[in-house]
Amino acid sequence: MLSIALGELIQVFRNRLVLVTSFIMPVAVSAYFIHQHETFADLGSLGYIAAVVMFTVGAFGLYTTTVTTLASRRQNLFLKRLRSTPASDAGILSGLMLPVTVLALVQVTAILIVLAAVAGGPTNVPLLVAAVLSTVIMMLGLGLATAGLTNSPEHAQVTTLPVSLGAIAVASWVGITGTEELTLLKRLLPGGSATELVLNAWNGGVPVADSLPLLLPTLSWVVVAVALASRLFRWEPRR
């Protein structure tokens, strides 16, 4: 798995397009949000900014890159090549997704540290970590499922739009309007409960015991995504 991960890391840094769209763009967007934190805090809260930057990295840095990478590796038969070795399917997928996952986690951590330093830190760090980790797992699962519907890296530009834009839209909706109204709908949408968890972790004011159940909808999306991926994911291009 580590050999595959190392190979992926080399490719990420060698492919300028992936580097720019998946890693530099989310950082640039996040930098804008942090720079304008007073404006966005007035609109929602600091927790809202934290949630939006987390989903910006999660959607573009992690989810889109995962889908594009898997579609590309399948299209050029690299997945089949890897399956010609003793490596297990789980090992292959883990190796392929490990670098982008680690990079996304590093990005989110660094951005949130900068946000905390500039505008004030979170109230409950462990809760924030739980929110970030559950979001990362959810985006990975959705990436696997979407890769099953994606024929090529070019096709990924279309197939990733609903989830990536949807997750950021949900984060903004929940971050700005809260969950006092349409509570169930907002929490069940992908990213809704994770956003609320970030809001609670950053802004405080909600008991931890009341926040922890918010992990359930996010993890349910992981179950749904993995179930979809197991049905949809293909290792070879359609002939």
């Binding site: 050999s3 595959i4 190392l6 190979g7 080399i10 490719q11 060698r14 492919n15 590796r73 050029n76 038969l77 690299f78 089949k80 090549r81 890897l82 399956r83 010609s84 070795t85 003793p86 490596a87 297990s88 070879e236």
Partner: protein, 293 residues
């Protein structure tokens, strides 16, 4: 050579929806053999090969490689090298990185520089795969397949796109691997390669074996041909012959030396010139052309 089957296929069936791609196929490949799986387009040889490699699941029947299911990658793959029909390398990795990655995953021990030397790619070690020509990619594919001298090697169209020097180098490497005891399964459209190299051939047509055996077993089922033209008028021929549309005569024979001897004796005795005389044993091409006719 022992008779231990490295590959044992028993009544293999493969279906894609309503299409029955492989029908009740059974064959064995013994240790040290070079077994060529040939066939017409759509005959089912790629489906068969991919099932034996473990890339596909049989609809019914059994496939054993080293006595185990080829789907058990951890048990079987360290002992086999696979040269795919299409490249399957990441374009952003270099040649050296590609061989190192696949080599490491193969769990076999070897030196990257050694296998690159076999396929004359040492000078391209630092080149990204996207910069390689089609022939160089085939050689890279071969290099990863033979990394660590596996016991069983699948070569799927290995020489397609290779120049003659590269082909010779590849077959030299295959010969050396066979001297070390490796078993080879080959598919190719270059029939002369199969004719020269294969110990046995499975000739597929419409999902089943049309014929299976050694080259001589396959070719002896068809008559050899003697072709020539004659100046007119000429005395009656000593053998049964047919006149072809281009004016040449054709004698078909299962005993080429004897009938050729008779024909040459007749020409000598009658002072007849056999113009454009061509005589040769039945080739694999002829067997191939006879499929479906």
């Amino acid at each position: 050579m022992t008779s231990t089957p490295v590959i044992d296929v028993e009544r293999l069936n493969l279906s894609y929806g309503d299409f029955h791609a492989v029908k009740d196929l059974s064959f064995q490949v013994r240790k040290g053999e070079l077994y060529a799986l040939l066939g017409t387009n759509g005959a089912g040889k790629t489906s068969t090969l991919e099932t034996v490699e473990g890339h596909r699941t049989a609809t019914s029947g059994t496939v054993r490689v080293f006595g185990q299911s080829p789907r058990d990658r951890r048990a079987v793959r360290p002992r086999m090298g696979i040269m795919l029909q299409e490249s399957g390398f990441s374009p952003d990795l270099t040649v050296r990185e590609s061989v190192r990655l696949i080599g490491k995953l193969s769990q076999r021990r070897d030196r990257v520089e050694r296998v690159l030397g076999i396929v004359d790619l040492t000078h391209k070690a630092g080149t990204q795969v996207s910069q390689l020509s089609g022939g160089e990619k085939r050689r890279l594919d071969f290099a990863t397949a033979v990394y660590g001298k596996p016991e069983l090697i699948f070569l799927d169209e290995p020489t397609t796109g290779l120049d003659i020097q590269s082909r010779d180098a590849l077959w030299d490497a295959v010969d050396k691997l066979r001297e070390d005891g490796s078993t080879i399964v080959l598919t190719t459209h270059y029939l002369e390669e199969a004719q020269q190299r294969a110990d046995r051939i499975g000739l597929m047509h419409k999902g089943a074996f049309h014929q299976e055996g050694t080259v001589s077993e396959l070719t002896r089922t068809l008559p050899a041909a003697i072709r020539f033209s004659l100046p007119a008028p000429a005395p009656a021929l000593p053998l049964q012959a047919t006149r072809e549309s281009d004016g040449t005569f054709l004698i078909q024979t299962f005993d080429l030396p004897k009938d050729l001897y008779i024909l040459l004796g007749w020409a000598h005795d009658n002072a007849v010139e056999l113009r454009e005389l061509q005589a040769g044993p039945t080739r694999l091409d002829d067997v191939f052309r006879s499929i479906g006719s």
